[in-house]
């Protein structure tokens, strides 16, 4: 008897539903009990317009208590070009352009999310040793200088000797941060940000990675000691990158491969070589031409410019790719420009730690460097 009752009830429900069926709701309310503000975020700002490169989207709901819920699977994500939801949290396209995306969740609408899809961005070089994570390590050596600094040539001399020392010249990437005098052709606001962040209060000055050094380290032996101190036999991440100039922008396609699991950030700084500028106190003519000069730090804010953009968590042995772009300033000589690509992580004490770095020519590429 009970079976019959259930059967009838099922039938009745179907009948009732059928009786009330009209056109579908303008919106399918899948909302459960969560309420709050929603936001749409992306793993990437830039993707390649090749149909396979993917930006992974997330819809997060922040409830009244401040708790954040991932509602990506429940929310609808739209592009401004279509009335149809994506149906997936992955966005890819074959059409280059700027895209605006937004999400709906019941009666909540998210922020607009802007994504750029670019054609012509080169692949990162193939991994020559996929099984390995024994990466070569390089540190940043930052020379704080300026053409009007009469004592800076002594450090220039020391850096030249360091660059000629084969025991050391493969262990660091040299950056000249011209922040001393504004009439220096190599001066840049990026350099002033970098120098002030690193606590530089006198010139010449030399810093390593993101450490705020308290004493003068511009003597040759001091620099060697610091390289010995900071350089590791194996880096915890490897970097492969390629760069392409498209429509006046430098797109740097970066792939990070982790030797250790971690949460990483990837940054790009633009350097320019061969900038002429009469050097005060010069002891030789080569000092009137300046190379490795910091021109720009890529990012949407000071933190991203200094320490890179987050690529999230990466497991050991895995890779993650991203693309960062910088406007190619018309005052720079494109052929003289190159990129410093680096990976950072937070050291557990709230400070950013530089894990590895490499140089990539503009319009060129650099593959993973293994020991």
């Amino acid at each position: 008897m009970k079976k019959l009752f259930n059967l009838l009830l099922s039938f009745a429900m179907v009948a009732l539903c059928a009786s009330c069926e009209g056109t579908p709701s303008d919106g399918d309310d899948q909302k459960d009990n969560l309420s709050g503000t929603i936001s749409l975020i992306s793993s990437r700002d830039i993707i390649r317009a090749n149909g396979t490169d993917v930006a992974t989207l997330s819809v997060l709901l922040t409830d009244e208590s401040g708790m954040i819920h991932d509602i990506s699977s429940k929310a609808e994500i739209y592009t401004s070009e279509s009335d149809q939801p994506l149906g997936s949290v992955n966005f890819s396209t074959t059409k280059a352009g700027d895209y605006t995306l937004y999400a709906l969740y019941g009666l909540e609408v998210s922020n607009d999310l802007f994504l750029k899809a670019v054609s012509g961005v080169a692949d990162t070089p193939a991994d020559p040793n996929k099984a390995s994570t024994d990466f070569d390590h390089k540190i940043l050596l930052i020379q704080h200088t300026g053409t009007a600094c009469p004592n800076c040539p002594s450090v220039m001399n020391n850096l030249k000797r360091l660059a000629e020392d084969e025991a050391y010249n493969s262990k660091y990437v040299h950056i000249a941060s011209h922040s001393y005098n504004e009439d220096d052709g190599a001066y840049s606001s990026a350099a002033t940000i970098l120098s002030s962040t690193l606590g530089v209060h006198s010139y010449p000055w030399v810093s390593f990675n993101f450490f705020e050094t308290k004493e003068f380290l511009g003597e040759l032996e001091s620099m060697k000691s610091c390289i010995d101190l900071f350089h590791e036999p194996q880096a915890s991440v490897g970097i492969a990158a390629s760069s392409t100039v498209v429509d006046g922008n430098i797109y740097t396609h970066i792939e990070l491969k982790a030797a250790k699991s971690g949460i990483y950030r990837v940054g790009v700084w633009v350097l320019e070589d061969n900038i002429p500028g009469t050097q005060s106190g010069a002891t030789s003519s080569w000092q009137n031409v300046h190379s490795n000069c910091l021109r720009e730090m890529v990012g949407n804010n000071r933190s991203e410019r200094l320490y890179g953009k987050s690529v999230g968590s990466v497991e050991a042995g895995k890779t993650v790719a991203t693309i960062l772009s910088a406007e190619l300033n018309e005052k720079w000589v494109e052929g003289n420009c190159k990129l410093v690509v680096f990976v950072t992580t937070e050291d557990g004490n709230g400070k950013m730690e530089l894990l590895n770095t490499t140089l990539c020519p503009v319009g060129g590429s650099v593959e993973y460097a293994y020991n």
Binding site: L8, L16, D26, G27, L107, P150, N151, S202
Partner: protein
């Protein structure tokens, strides 16, 4: 029954399908837009939606934009609301068959935290207002050259530079940054702010930003560029606003056009009448030019406050308004305020604007003053006064013969004419005892006392109390008793003559000094050099009378000294006795720090050769010498600071040149950098001089103890210069100071030897007695009074001048 119910339901549907009405649901029914009008999105949902139907929106606000292009989303934006009041609108959302729903839109009023409004710009003045939404917002206004502003790449760069500048301003005021900012920050809206003394025809930028007293920026930088007008080329007129209170004049001076150089002064009208007479003119401009400007220039040059007319111009030139200035005034006196356009040669070139103000008379005083003279010696006397109230009064000692025939009025005129400014120094309040010194023996003096305020005699009487100083015996019979207590670098000494009437010169001398050497020193060095042969000045300031008790500094440790005294004729300068010495005493030995300092140096390099070898920028060193000596320092031990430099001459003999000499000069002259380049000059006269310089160094520990002095003599001969190929500049690390315009040359590690070589290393240093504190001679008093007047004016003007900077903090308080 259930089945029946269901069947009824099915049957009913078949007969008359019931279609529920659509219902519009909104995510928000009220939205608030910012004053900038940034878009807000509202999601909606239509229940029981109809096929092919879409919502429609309607509103009547021109400033509102509503779009429904996105799925289930209404985008609402607005134009910027620049009004001071918020505005509202209602958006009605309609859907076929559904009840309309509304979204209430409110756009807030203008909410930029800071807003600048330039009201007026002249050749030198900027008037502006700053509006804040938050009445508690603290902010700071700045004016800078446009070039400076443009050179700042970002708000952050500008702010960082400003913050560094504030730190500098705080430091020179001995304040913390927070104390300085607390004092300078403006709060809330302030209108009609005036910033003066801009340069004409110049591009500037006014900018401001919110900032907390802790130096945290709280808003964007808001700014307005402006250009000052060309300077007014016509003549100037002036308005004077004068108020008087408590015998002080408070005044403002407003030129008809700011930004034009002018001279302003205040003078007693009686003095102007004297100028008219002295210069035989009735032309006020000529009288002021000669009597005020040219005369003051002469006095200030004479006293070495300035070196030429341009110095006077830079101090006394005005271009803007003078606000809330003040000066003490005499009672019942007519003052002439005047101002006129002038040029850089301090010549008045415009018509003089003037304003007369006669001050209020001074109320008479019923103060009853009594005078008594006590403790009369050959050179001093105590004046004891009592008073019936605290009204101010003056007491001064004058020789009786000078005033014997004078009635009170004549005496008052004599004193005010000759003593003028000095009278204030002898003006007291209430009863007191004061010792007057430097009196002549066996001489009649009169203490003169009268009520005195604001240049006016306030009592109806002038008291006179005559006395005669004690007679002096033959100077040769005068004996001296000496006492002393010594430390390492100072000694307390007491010289007690048996006869207080004689004038004597005293000093502390190296124990090896002979009497003749002392006399030679007094004659050849003190009188001839220090006083340029002016014995009267020497006698006035350097000769003592009576007991001397002083603590004398500047002595050297472990050094033998003696006190030497010689009586001199006050008028002729003749030595009346031989030099009388105390017994020898020795200053305490120094406990040296456990530190060793050594200066490492070897070759020096010809600067021309260095330039030729590629060190092109080193040619700037040619102005300091012929060669460069690189030197570095090595210090062992826990030191706090060290100093080292090169001195001319061979100073290696500690007997001839005690360590103590270097302790005085090295901290002043020496480099404190690890490495330094010393420019040297070749000895062209003596090519065999191998000891023409001495490298000297000292280091101090954390307790202030010093090391033994390092000293190493060396020569500097052109034939012995080092090979430029071996030259290494060790001074790279010496460069300090991140702000280019604040880098003094010394900070580059270059110490100008020119200065060191001219530094006097006194072979044997004597310590002269302290200067006199009391002057009684009328001639001296007049001269001193004139000097004081000029100095007072000079220093007052100097204090009111600001240094030129690239950017200025605008004071709003």
């Amino acid at each position: 029954m259930l089945l029946a119910t269901l069947l009824v339901g099915l049957f009913a549907c078949q007969e008359e399908p019931e279609i529920p009405s659509p219902v519009i649901q909104l995510g928000e029914s009220e939205v608030v837009l910012s004053s900038s009008g940034a878009a807000v999105s509202v999601a909606y949902l239509v229940e029981n939606a109809l096929e092919g139907e879409k919502i429609s929106v309607a509103h009547e606000a021109e400033w509102l934009t509503v779009a429904t292009n996105k799925v289930r989303t209404i985008e609402i934006s607005a134009s910027e609301n620049t009004e001071s009041e918020e505005r509202t609108a209602t958006i009605t959302i309609s859907y076929k068959g559904a009840e309309d729903v509304n979204i209430a839109v409110t756009q807030s009023c203008y909410d930029t935290p800071l807003r600048l409004e330039i009201l007026d710009v002249t050749a030198a003045d900027l008037y502006f207002s700053v509006f804040t939404n938050d009445p508690e917002l603290t902010w700071i206004p700045m004016v800078s050259s446009k070039a400076y502003f443009d050179s700042q790449r970002s708000d952050s760069a500008l702010f960082d530079d400003n913050l560094e500048y504030f730190a500098y301003l705080a430091e020179i005021r001995d304040l913390t940054l927070e104390e300085y900012l607390t004092d300078m920050l403006a709060v809330g809206t302030i209108e009609n702010i005036l910033f003066e003394n801009l340069e004409p025809n110049t591009e500037y930028v006014l900018y401001a930003y919110g900032i907390t007293p802790k130096g945290e920026r709280t808003t964007d930088v808001v700014w307005e560029a402006f250009t000052t007008e060309a300077p007014w080329e016509g003549d100037l007129t002036f308005e004077f606003n004068v108020m008087e209170e408590n015998h002080r004049l408070f005044f403002d001076v407003t030129p008809s056009h700011t930004g034009v150089p002018y001279y302003f002064g205040i003078v007693k009208k009686a003095l102007v009448e004297e100028w008219f007479e002295s210069y035989n003119t009735t032309d006020l401009r000529e009288a002021i030019q000669k009597g005020e400007i040219d005369a003051n220039i002469d006095i200030l040059i004479d006293y070495e406050f300035i070196s030429d007319r341009s110095g006077f111009y830079s101090i006394f030139n005005e271009t803007g308004r003078l606000f809330d200035e003040s000066m003490a005034c005499d009672g019942a006196t007519t003052y002439l305020f005047f101002a006129a356009k002038w040029n850089e040669n301090c010549e008045l070139i415009g018509e003089v604007s003037s304003y007369e103000h006669t001050t209020l008379p001074v109320e008479p005083s019923d103060n009853i003053i009594t005078l008594k003279v006590e403790n009369i010696t050959q050179s001093s006397a105590d004046m004891v006064t009592t008073t019936s109230n605290n009204d101010p009064y003056t007491v001064i000692a004058v020789e009786s013969s000078t005033i014997a025939e004078m009635d009170d009025k004549t005496l008052y005129d004599y004193l005010t004419f000759n003593y003028d400014y000095l009278l204030d120094e002898y003006t007291f309040s209430g009863g007191r005892t004061r010792t007057y010194t430097h009196l002549e023996p066996n001489t009649n003096y009169t203490f003169v006392a009268f009520g005195y305020l604001a240049g006016t005699q306030t009592t109806s009487y002038i008291l006179r109390e005559e006395f005669t100083t004690a007679r002096s015996d033959d100077p040769k019979d005068c004996t001296f008793e000496f006492e002393w207590t010594v430390d390492t670098e100072e000694a307390w000494i007491k010289i007690d003559p048996s006869d207080d009437g004689h004038h004597f010169f005293w000093g502390i001398y190296d124990a090896r000094y002979t009497a003749q050497e002392v006399k030679d020193y007094i004659t050849d060095v003190v009188i001839a050099d220090w006083y340029e042969g002016d014995f009267a000045a020497f006698a006035s300031w350097r000769l003592s009378q009576g007991t001397v008790s002083e603590t004398v500094g500047g002595l050297y440790p472990s050094t033998n000294y003696k006190i030497g005294v010689v009586i001199m004729d006050y008028e002729s300068g003749e030595f009346l006795t031989d030099v009388i010495f105390s017994e020898t005493f020795t200053t305490k030995a120094v406990e040296y720090a456990d530190i060793t300092i050594e200066v490492i140096f070897n070759d020096y390099y010809d600067i021309q050769e260095l330039v030729s070898a590629g060190y092109r920028n080193y040619k700037e060193y040619l102005q300091y010498g012929d060669a460069l000596l690189p030197a570095t320092v090595e210090v062992s031990g826990d030191y706090s600071v060290f100093y080292y430099t090169v001195y001319a001459r061979d100073l290696s003999d500690p007997e001839l040149y005690p360590d103590s000499i270097f302790l005085e000069y090295l901290p002043q002259d020496g480099s404190h950098y690890d490495a330094t380049l010393f420019p040297l000059t070749y000895n062209e006269d003596d090519p065999y001089d191998l000891e023409m310089y001495t490298m000297c160094a000292v280091a101090y520990d954390h307790n202030g103890k010093f090391s033994h002095i390092f000293r190493r003599p060396f020569g500097c001969l052109k034939g012995n210069v080092g090979n430029p190929d071996n030259f290494v500049d060790p001074t790279a690390r010496n460069l300090v100071a991140p702000i280019p315009e604040w880098r003094p040359l010394e900070k580059f590690g270059l110490v100008s030897l020119g200065a060191e070589r001219s530094t006097p290393l006194l072979p044997k240093k004597s310590v002269a007695p302290a200067e006199k504190s009391v002057v009684v001679g009328a001639e001296e008093a007049k001269k001193e009074s004139a000097r004081l007047r000029a100095q007072t004016q000079f220093e007052a003007r100097c204090e009111s001048k600001n240094l030129t900077e690239e950017r200025f903090v605008v004071s709003v308080k």
